[in-house]
């Protein structure tokens, strides 16, 4: 099977997965024992208004009928209207998703670079001080609760040292650049505002580092294990016996072949950063999808809940696809069938 056929097949499969997630979330949100209209109107609204609102949102119809209507809407590219904000869900997703995507991307980059460096150092210096330090750091990263780490960083770098801003994407006195991508770093570059880019970058440091802690830990552990396997292989010994410099042996021969499991875990980390940013978004006042989705869940805002879940599911599936495609580049033995 050619690569193109494979990708097309996977994309169709991806649509099926997203559709499945949508269906599942749709039905789960309808069977939970709570009434979104009651949540929206408070406990004191008269019964006829409650009924009117239920009818307005189609909640008075049988669940299956609601589902079919929603699917019909989706097929026309309509994600529905948020019950809480009255805005189109798609409009809200476009508003909030870029901020999350940008933060998760920076976090994933730090995770990949930091994780691989730590993992390689740890494997090469196995059993030595650097290895122990890296392993303790990885263990801490995996076990430390994000909210605690975030608050600790904020206390140190913002409150005590005053080096970094305490939250948001830009200081309140600075007007954001014209919105093109919704990603502040890119938009400030497009607007040729280097000063703004630098300030925005400062705002990224704490949330992205906090977010990447887990990723660095996970990737470094996998890199270390995989590197240790590879470093024991015959071809590495051959490379060394040819008289190659150690750096070249490690980086050119060993690392590339150790990357397969690392790519897998990096894909998972990226996906996780994307959907797991809600705490970081809350503590660092980041206007992202995590907070939007959480509020939608709390307000039982069904269209917003289903819409944001679909975006995350879509992105997650896309990441998986990218990882699978990367396999072929890293290991020509991988065949797509």
């Amino acid at each position: 099977m050619s690569m193109v056929t494979y990708i097309v097949r996977r994309l169709l499969w991806l649509l099926f997965v997203v559709f499945g997630v949508m269906t599942l979330v749709f039905f789960i949100s309808r069977v939970i024992p709570a009434d979104p209209v009651a949540a929206m109107l408070g406990g004191h609204a008269p019964a006829d208004l409650v009924e009117e609102m239920r009818a307005k949102w189609g909640l008075d119809k049988p669940v299956i009928e609601q589902y079919l209507a929603y699917v019909w809407q989706l097929l026309h590219g309509d994600f529905g209207v948020s019950m809480a904000s009255g805005r189109h869900v798609l409009q809200d997703l476009v508003e909030y998703f870029p901020a999350t995507l940008e933060l998760a991307t920076v976090g994933a980059l730090i995770s990949v670079v930091g994780g691989i460096v730590l993992g390689v150092v740890s494997a090469v210096r196995r059993g030595k001080l650097a290895d122990h330090v890296a392993r303790v750091a990885a263990l801490t990263g995996i076990s430390m609760p994000v909210f605690w780490l975030a608050l600790l960083m904020m206390l140190l770098f913002y409150f005590i040292l005053g080096w970094l801003p305490g939250g948001g994407r830009l200081p309140y006195y600075m007007d954001p650049p014209t919105r093109i991508t919704g990603m502040i770093l890119i938009d400030s570059l497009i607007a040729r505002r280097l000063d703004m880019f630098t300030i925005a970058l400062k705002h990224f440091v704490m949330p992205a580092l906090t977010l990447s802690f887990f990723g660095v830990a996970a990737i470094s552990r996998v890199t270390r294990a995989s590197m240790l396997d590879v470093l024991g292989e015959d071809y590495v010994r051959t490379a060394r016996s040819k008289g190659l410099v150690e750096n070249r042996v490690v980086l050119r021969h060993a690392l590339k072949n150790a990357m397969l499991p690392v790519v897998t875990i990096a894909g998972i980390v990226y996906g996780r950063l994307l959907e797991g940013g809600v705490i970081v978004e809350t503590i660092f006042a980041w206007p992202g999808l995590g907070r939007y989705a959480t509020n939608a869940f709390l307000a039982l805002d069904f269209p917003a809940v289903v819409g944001s879940t679909m975006v995350i599911a879509l992105f997650y599936s896309l990441m998986n696809l990218v990882v699978d495609i990367l396999y072929a580049f890293l290991d020509p033995r991988v065949r797509y069938d």
């Binding site: 801003p165 305490g166 948001g168 007007d175 006042a285």
Partner: protein
């Protein structure tokens, strides 16, 4: 060599990244740290959330006004209407609109604008419309009499405070500039709902200059405000959802006011130099224990009274609530018109005596249902501990709020600890919820807390309706006080306290007063010293 280059680049990046970025806040600018999560938009006819109401308070005016701190909701003050009168039959209200008041656009506020705004709210028919519709259901009941006179007819007579609470509601009661609305109307959106959701068409002391969602709201002073220009030139309401982040930003001086701090943070900040705690003296939110008349021992008046006397209210208010609540045992909150101050304290001897009188000296077992979160679980534990002293053995069951509500509505609880709040500033809401029940069946007209606790005393519902319609404020007050006294004596509720709104400010901030309904906090009189 490459490694050195890399290190040099890293060093430069680090220096750039850690250079301090924040300047000092100018003296004419107030920066408030607030959680923006509840903020939806600023369309007056739709606004129901406290945070959105707070923004509208700064931007719009209503016919009548609730101003001042502690006494804000005890009497109605003139707003855009400088005076008003009600017809003999209590059905028609005539408002005289103040002349010379300007909208932010420069257009004059007049009778047409008032009629347009209320009729527009009825046309838009959003969730809060029931507050207006319960008294004024159709557009023809709102009429222009002349350029500066408006008449509003209600379907039944209602008291002045109740009328004011509905038409002074920070949302549907706002008066909008018809010309500005028409200017932004489109074929699909003839009432400019989309535009007004993100901008303003008001006459208040500030205008909405900028709204960056989940980032900041910037208000700028309106110099031609009819009550005088505000002291501040700019207010920035910055999104800071996390209380710890707000506290740190306040202490560093990056914000002037932290709006969503936790009670323990308030306790800590009280003694901090350079920081001041500002709090309301009450609020229209409360915690209460509901006792079901349908459950055998609780149907005895002596048992219900014994439970009231057995609780250590101070331990709950000062201990568990850490001073973030004010003790109140009446169904009408402290600070609201006609509140009856009849506070009592724990008296175990009296409680035991009442238990013996009811024939329950040996006590009984009872289930207490409440929410899974704080402070509910702590308050429930305190109640369990207190009631044990009069031999009532309490089993606590916790569940999520939606489930608690389901049990409450199904009337299958015995004891239930919950939180409630009133939608608007009039005692009729509290009286209707907690004292209006004519029949116990499913055909009841009001199925609120009294009905849910199967408390249906004959004649009390008549009092509640009579009080709502009463025109004479003194007689109205007497009626509400009688209702409160009766519910307190025999009713199914143990009211615990009203929760307070507590914020912390830099000590340079002066003139901030928070009324019992915090969204009605006016920032017009707030200023900053250098």
């Amino acid at each position: 060599m490459k490694l050195r280059m890399l290190l040099a680049v890293l060093l430069v990046v680090s220096v750039v990244v850690v250079m301090p970025v924040l300047g000092q806040i100018p003296a004419d600018t107030l920066v408030i740290g607030m959680n923006h999560d509840p903020i939806i938009d600023f369309a007056p006819e739709r606004v129901y959330e406290l945070e959105d109401m707070f923004i509208l308070e700064q931007v719009y005016d209503q016919l009548v006004n609730f101003t001042g701190g502690e006494d804000a909701f005890k009497e109605v003050k003139p707003g855009l209407a400088e005076s008003w009168e009600v017809s003999e039959d209590g059905l028609t209200w005539t408002f005289h609109v103040r002349q010379g008041v300007r909208f932010h656009s420069g257009n004059e506020v007049n009778a047409d604008a008032v009629v347009f705004s209320f009729q527009r709210a009825l046309d838009r028919h959003q969730a809060p419309i029931w507050i207006m519709e319960q008294f004024v259901p159709t557009k023809d009941m709102i009429q222009r009499v002349d350029d500066y006179t408006v008449s509003i007819t209600t379907k039944a007579p209602i008291g002045e405070m109740l009328f004011a609470a509905a038409f002074g509601y920070q949302g549907i009661g706002c008066v909008l500039d018809p010309a500005v609305i028409q200017e932004h109307a489109t074929g699909d959106d003839p009432l400019a709902a989309k535009w007004v959701a993100e901008h303003d068409a008001g006459s208040g002391p500030f205008t909405i200059a900028e709204w960056v969602k989940r980032d900041r709201i910037v208000l700028t002073a309106f110099d031609d405000y009819w009550q005088g220009a505000p002291q501040l030139r700019r207010i920035i309401i910055k999104d800071l959802p996390e209380p710890t982040a707000q506290k740190l930003a306040l202490e560093r001086g990056d914000i002037d006011v932290a709006w969503n701090l936790l009670p323990e943070m308030i306790v800590e900040l009280r003694s901090k130099e350079g920081i001041r705690v500002v709090e309301s003296s009450s609020s229209f939110s409360y915690h209460y224990l509901a006792m079901n008349f349908g459950c055998e021992p609780l149907s005895h008046i002596e048992v219900r009274q014994a439970i009231r006397w057995a609780l250590d209210y101070n331990a709950i208010t000062d201990g568990i609530m850490a001073g973030s609540a004010v003790k109140n045992q009446s169904i009408v909150p402290v600070g609201m018109f006609s509140h009856l101050d009849l506070s009592y304290a724990q008296n175990l001897d009296k409680a035991r005596e009442l238990m013996a009188k009811a024939g329950y000296a040996g006590g009984f077992d009872v289930e207490l249902i409440t929410r899974t979160d704080q402070p509910f679980t702590d308050i429930a534990a305190q109640i369990q501990q207190d009631l044990k002293k009069i031999n009532i053995r309490v089993k606590i069951t916790t569940m999520v709020w939606a489930e608690v509500l389901k049990v409450f509505r199904a009337r299958t609880h015995q004891l239930l600890l919950a939180r409630g709040s009133l939608d608007y500033a009039d005692p009729s809401g509290a009286a209707t919820m907690m004292a209006h029940c004519r029949v116990l069946g499913d055909d009841a007209e009001v199925k609120q807390m009294a009905w849910r606790c199967m408390y249906c005393p004959s004649g009390l519902a008549d009092w509640v309706e009579e009080a709502a319609a009463e025109q004479d404020p003194r007689r109205r007050e007497v009626l509400y006080k009688a209702i409160q006294a009766l519910v307190l004596e025999e009713g199914p509720f143990v009211m615990l306290h009203n929760t307070l709104t507590q914020v912390a400010t830099r000590e340079t901030v002066v003139g901030l007063e928070i009324p019992a309904m915090w969204p009605y906090t006016e920032l017009r009189g707030v200023s900053k010293t250098q």
